[in-house]
């Protein structure tokens, strides 16, 4: 069980007392955890939606301060390019009574992780760790690469060729690391 559940439970208990409800749409490492995949996680949850209510924001911050984790629940992922029909595939969880928790489907997690690996593999390798844990198939890797090519290709031709070439190299690298 993730220690993040402790913070979420505290938030849920408070929401219940206040008769509030919030929605959280989760991606990233905590989403992997919700899929039952055990991985080393940092104590932060990436959400796609923004919390608006000032008292809820204040409570989230207060809980974070208590544990030394002021940014434990953040919507920095808002604005991320998502796979098509992402919201049709999200999975709902009834883990908490007053937090409408949903998280990215497996295939969408894979697509987002492949894209994340492309952008940050030169300085950050955690996305590779997560892809290994997902034990992705060859077909799923191809889907991830297709998503990257379809949604991230630059419009200008002078950048397009370099991008496609780099993605091809990444594809080969990931094939080697993940599929052997």
């Amino acid at each position: 069980m993730s220690d993040l559940n402790i913070l979420l439970k505290e938030l849920n208990d408070w929401l219940r007392e206040q008769n509030f409800e919030i929605e959280l749409i989760i991606i990233g490492a905590y989403a992997l955890h919700l899929h039952g995949i055990s991985s080393r996680m940092t104590m932060d949850i990436d959400t796609l939606n923004h919390i608006e209510h000032p008292r809820v924001i204040s409570k989230i911050f207060e809980i974070g301060e208590k544990y030394g984790l002021p940014e434990w629940l953040n919507s920095q992922a808002q604005g991320l390019i998502l796979p098509g029909d992402f919201y049709k595939r999200i999975i709902r969880s009834d883990l908490f009574s007053n937090i409408l928790l949903s998280y990215a489907s497996r295939i969408d997690l894979i697509k987002l992780k492949v894209a994340a690996y492309y952008y940050r593999h030169s300085f950050e390798q955690k996305d590779l760790d997560d892809l290994k844990l997902l034990k992705i198939s060859s077909g799923e890797l191809d889907d991830g690469i297709d998503f990257l090519l379809e949604s991230h290709t630059p419009e200008q031709n002078r950048f397009k060729n370099d991008f496609v070439r780099d993605v091809t190299l990444i594809h080969l690298k990931l094939k080697e690391f993940l599929l052997g």
Binding site: D3, R40, Y67, G68, L69, E124, Q125, K126
Partner: protein, 183 residues
């Protein structure tokens, strides 16, 4: 591994909630132990490097050197981490006593204290081992204060052993702290 993670979370890693640590945690011993775990996975690696980047300046390289013969660690990883810390000026050049040869390190490091570590305010408030050092106290005095707040000891010899420090220095520092009513 679990005991390492528990210590690491106590010392400020954002890989879990900070547990209550009843016993003194020796920072230099922890640093050496970290060399055994740095290659476990990439989040662990980044968390260790970020912790070192922020707090290694509070550690004593001479104590680390002394502990090398007592504490299990990975020599190669130790050299790489020390080179990394010196090259990026996270520590001073006196740390070069810990390396045998000059190597050019290529290390994937992503400085992101907010992601990999708990807030500095929280760590300073809750981790006495780090707080006393951050307040400018010497390694021996910091460790004596932290150790004596958490553990009983029968003799100054036991105290010296508990904080892995030379007996004469521990005697002198302890008497000073006693003389001024600090302990």
């Amino acid at each position: 591994m679990d005991s390492f993670i528990q210590k690491f979370n106590y010392l400020g890693a954002a890989l879990g909630i900070s547990p209550r640590m009843k016993n003194f945690v020796d920072l230099e011993e922890f640093f050496l132990e970290a060399t055994l775990h740095i290659e476990n996975d990439n989040r662990m690696k980044q968390a260790i490097l970020n912790w070192c980047a922020r707090y290694a300046t509070l550690l004593s390289p001479s104590k680390i050197r002394r502990l090398c013969s007592l504490i299990k660690h990975n020599d190669e990883n130790l050299e790489v981490i020390v080179h990394f810390l010196i090259e990026r000026s996270y520590v001073k050049h006196n740390w070069s006593i810990l390396v045998k040869r000059k190597i050019k390190t290529r290390i994937n490091f992503h400085e992101n204290f907010k992601k990999y570590l708990k807030s500095n305010d929280f760590i300073i408030k809750n981790v006495s081992e780090i707080r006393y050092r951050a307040e400018g106290r010497s390694q021996v005095i910091s460790d004596i204060l932290s150790f004596t707040q958490k553990s009983n000891f029968g003799s100054l010899y036991q105290l010296a052993k508990g904080i892995h420090s030379p007996r004469n220095r521990v005697n002198e520092s302890f008497r000073q702290l006693q003389a001024f009513g600090v302990i």
